[in-house]
Amino acid sequence: MNLRREHLLRTYLLVLLFVALRSFGNLALAWGTRRLPQTLSVHAAAYLWSMLDPFVAAGIVLLILSLFTRMALLSVADLSFVLPTTAVGYPLAAVIGWFFLKERVSTGHWIATLLIFAGTALVGTTPRSTTPAGSPGAESSK
């Protein structure tokens, strides 16, 4: 029972860590790319040049760490569990965009935040993994 609780706690810690790393990684990336004179989608070489910007570089480091965190999360939980529980990052992105980048956040954004939190909480009450580790695709909990 304690072991189960420990696994659950570890899963939620990974969720929180992933959301924080991803949100601040995206913020650093958005901040950095907006300071660049080039249009990234037109000039391919500009991608490499953009990595010299400290904000873009910091964003990339944070996003790489978030990738490893998500991989660890996917090793202990279903993809259909990870997707909604990590979705709290979407309203967080809107709040960060509003706070740091002065983007407009409407009433709709706040309602969306409530919906996402409600959905996340609901999925959080379901088993984190329905396929046994070591054999993806196997049905375990009929």
Binding site: L74, T113, T125, T126
Partner: protein, 119 residues
């Protein structure tokens, strides 16, 4: 151009996530402390589908990077979440995950929230 980048981002994200979920469930529980990160890197190097998933992730990343330069972050993030629905369906069909009533309802609430954010 904006929607082309969103499309590239969604398709490459879906392929990457399915490959990662499949491979990492086989690899067993991983952690993100210093030793865990080294172990994770070794697992990635040993599994070709995980390497392929990172290639798709890189494509998704560069598409997103180009997107955030031309569109607000509050558009780019929810728009790229179109992969959410596709991934849920494929998690059931390809990975054979059990998506019961509560999990499906939670997904619908989250999806509604993401769509509302994108408006």
């Amino acid at each position: 151009m904006k929607w082309t980048l969103v499309g590239i981002n969604i398709v490459s994200t879906v392929v990457s996530d399915l490959l990662q979920s499949h491979e990492l469930k086989q690899a067993g529980a991983q952690s993100v402390d210093a030793r865990g990160l080294v172990r994770l890197v070794r697992i990635i190097a040993a599994r070709r589908y995980l390497i392929l998933s990172i290639v798709f992730l890189a494509v998704s990343f560069f598409a997103f990077m180009a997107l955030v330069q031309s569109a607000p972050l509050s558009f780019a993030v929810p728009a790229s979440a179109g992969s959410f629905l596709l991934e849920t369906v494929l998690a059931r069909l390809v990975l054979h995950e059990r998506i019961g009533g509560r999990r499906a309802a939670g997904h619908l609430l989250v999806l509604a929230g993401i769509l509302l954010l994108a408006r």
